[in-house]
């Protein structure tokens, strides 16, 4: 009996450990190994830091990094927009539950599907520009998809459009869990709508906002592949104007068959993601204490 129960826990976690080792453990070890090798096919000779030298001296790599960083500008927009909508929903106007269902819809639609739809909507002769010209905003009728200067901003709009839906729902859930007596007493003391928002509501939402910011940063640095793959015609186009780090890795592995190069970039992205784990844990713990996530 004793013998059994000492070994039993390991039997329970064995499949878990095996699965995690296969899908995460093995690849992490190998990306570091590959990143120091000239891999052709399945293996190759050690070449020291040459993969890293090559990657770091390549303008396309830095352009990809810059694109990821530029996309981070979406995060403040997402926070402000989600907060505004959540706070208005919180007033529980007639039909607010229906509004909530509709406003979460963008998050239900798969990214590749919505990217295809948006790509058609934002074509130079598409409906978006038609409407803009019709209401006299001709100067805004840009070549949203086809121009190298604009395409990444279009991707960003799409990210804001979709990821804000999550923010709205998260923020609204937190608002509905607030102690409303504070808001009521602020109202009785004559605080305006804006004052109540600024001094009563937002301070109590600090934790959930932090949580949303960290999650969004992780998403934008590491999970925007489907957006750029679909909008950029599978190549991060036009030209290289929407290439991001994920697509750089994909191209190095699949299109140019250079696993060593792809591994060097993967290794660097992995190290960056490790840095993000610390704030993620901190905000998750605090959010759990407030039971928001």
């Amino acid at each position: 009996m004793n013998q059994g129960s000492r070994i039993a826990p390991y039997a329970y976690v064995l499949p878990l450990v095996a699965l995690l080792l296969f899908v995460f453990g093995y690849p992490v070890v190998r990306i570091f190994e590959f990143s120091f090798k000239m891999v052709r096919g399945i293996d190759g000779p050690w070449i020291g830091f040459r993969n890293y030298d090559l990657v770091l001296s390549q303008p396309l790599f830095w352009e990809s990094v810059r694109h990821n960083l530029q996309l981070l500008l979406a995060v403040p927009c997402m926070v402000v927009w989600s907060l505004l909508i959540a706070v208005v929903l919180f007033d529980r106007l007639r039909g607010w539950k229906l509004y909530r269902v509709v406003l979460f819809l963008p998050y239900i639609l798969a990214v590749p599907i919505i990217a295809v739809v948006m790509k058609k909507m934002f074509q130079f002769n598409g409906p978006v520009n038609e409407v803009l010209r019709w209401i006299g905003l001709d100067f805004l009728a840009l070549d949203w998809i086809g121009s190298t200067d604009v395409a990444l901003w279009t991707v960003m709009l799409l990210i804001i459009w979709r990821e804000s839906a999550l923010g709205i729902i998260l923020f609204l859930a937190r608002l509905l869990a607030l102690d409303e007596s504070l808001i009521e007493s602020a109202k009785l003391e004559g605080a305006s709508w804006w004052q109540r928002l600024r001094y009563v509501i937002v301070p109590q939402m600090k934790v959930v906002i932090e949580f949303y910011v960290v999650v969004s940063v992780i998403t934008i640095l590491s999970s925007v592949f489907s957006y750029v793959y679909m909008i950029g015609g599978g190549r991060g186009g036009p030209g290289t104007s929407t290439t991001v780090v994920e697509l750089y890795i994909f191209n190095a592995l699949i299109r140019t068959s250079l696993p060593g190069i792809a591994s060097a970039v993967s290794a660097m992205l992995f190290l960056v993601s490790l840095l993000l784990i610390v704030p993620l844990f901190a905000v998750r713990r605090r959010a759990n204490e407030e039971e928001v996530a």
Partner: protein
């Protein structure tokens, strides 16, 4: 009080109108792509050239007919379904056992296992693909269901373990103790007591994880390159490459592709919303 009844203008509260206005704009923005997709799918190619915004003057169903009968959408959906079901089943089974041990048993490395597993939620999937691709090419696992299912199951498991462990910990200790006094073993406790109590968490898990696999593009295009194994999302990318110029036809395809998830969402709103909030890290 009397003042508020003096006239019509006083009763149309400007702040209410403003709030409805803000929500109206938000709804318009949220729905615009869906409305465009549906309206356009009903237009003929010719009508779309001069009517891009308005409703179709003469609705046609030809594009849906082409999508249903002359494309591979059903096969793609079938593949996605197989992968989602396989990966979710495997991950759930593995995670239930693991989370039960982490939540309710004593063993060396318990805390470490939980922290490492939870941390993996922040690691981008793209980091894992290079070695797995090289390995799969060597083992002939590219374009196999079981190969892809294994990867998907792995990628969704950290979240499963996190969610189930935190849920299992909330189950009162007395339940375990009384079951043990009745002579029940761990496996019996897990299956007979813990899992039935965990149905809400399990449902959340299935929703979030199935949606992740169903919506994924990255793993699908790398590990399932064979036409016969193509998933819905990878299929969409092929479809738009081939028929991208025929916008109404493309939109009919997108309507058809998004229908299953939208229908499920409308049917199970509550589980979706709470599930995706819990799974927002994925």
């Amino acid at each position: 009080m009397a003042g508020s009844e003096t006239g019509f203008l006083a009763r149309v509260r400007p702040d209410l109108a403003l709030k409805h206005g803000v929500l109206g704009v938000a709804v318009l923005i949220a729905l615009a792509p869906t409305v465009f997709m549906v309206l356009t799918s009903l237009k003929s190619e010719e009508e779309y050239t001069f009517n891009k915004v308005g409703p179709p003057a003469a609705p046609v169903l030809d594009h849906y007919r082409s999508v249903l009968f002359a494309s591979d959408f059903f096969a793609w959906m079938g593949n996605s379904l197989v992968l989602a079901a396989g990966a979710v089943a495997l991950s759930t089974a593995v995670s239930c056992l693991g989370a039960y041990a982490i939540a309710r048993m004593q063993f060396a490395g318990r805390g470490l296992l939980f922290s490492v597993s939870t941390s993996l939620m922040a690691v981008p999937p793209v980091v894992m693909i290079v070695p797995l691709f090289v390995l799969y090419a060597q083992l002939d696992l590219i374009s196999t269901y079981h190969g892809a299912i294994l990867i998907y199951a792995g990628l969704i498991t950290p979240f499963s373990v996190y969610l189930l462990t935190t849920f299992f910990r909330t189950i009162p200790r007395e339940l375990f103790e009384s079951a043990r006094i009745d002579g029940a073993g761990d496996l019996r406790i897990l299956v007979r007591i813990v899992l039935p109590l965990s149905l809400p968490a399990l449902l959340t898990l299935v929703v979030v994880n199935a949606l992740y696999v169903w919506n994924d593009l990255l793993i699908a295009i790398i590990f399932l390159q064979d036409d016969a194994k193509r998933t819905l999302m990878a299929g969409i990318s092929v479809f738009q490459g081939r028929y991208g110029d025929q916008i109404p036809l493309t939109m009919a395809g997108m309507v058809f592709a998004s229908a299953p998830m939208v229908i499920l969402y409308i049917a199970f709103q509550k589980h979706y919303i709470s599930g995706l909030m819990a799974g927002s890290i994925k």
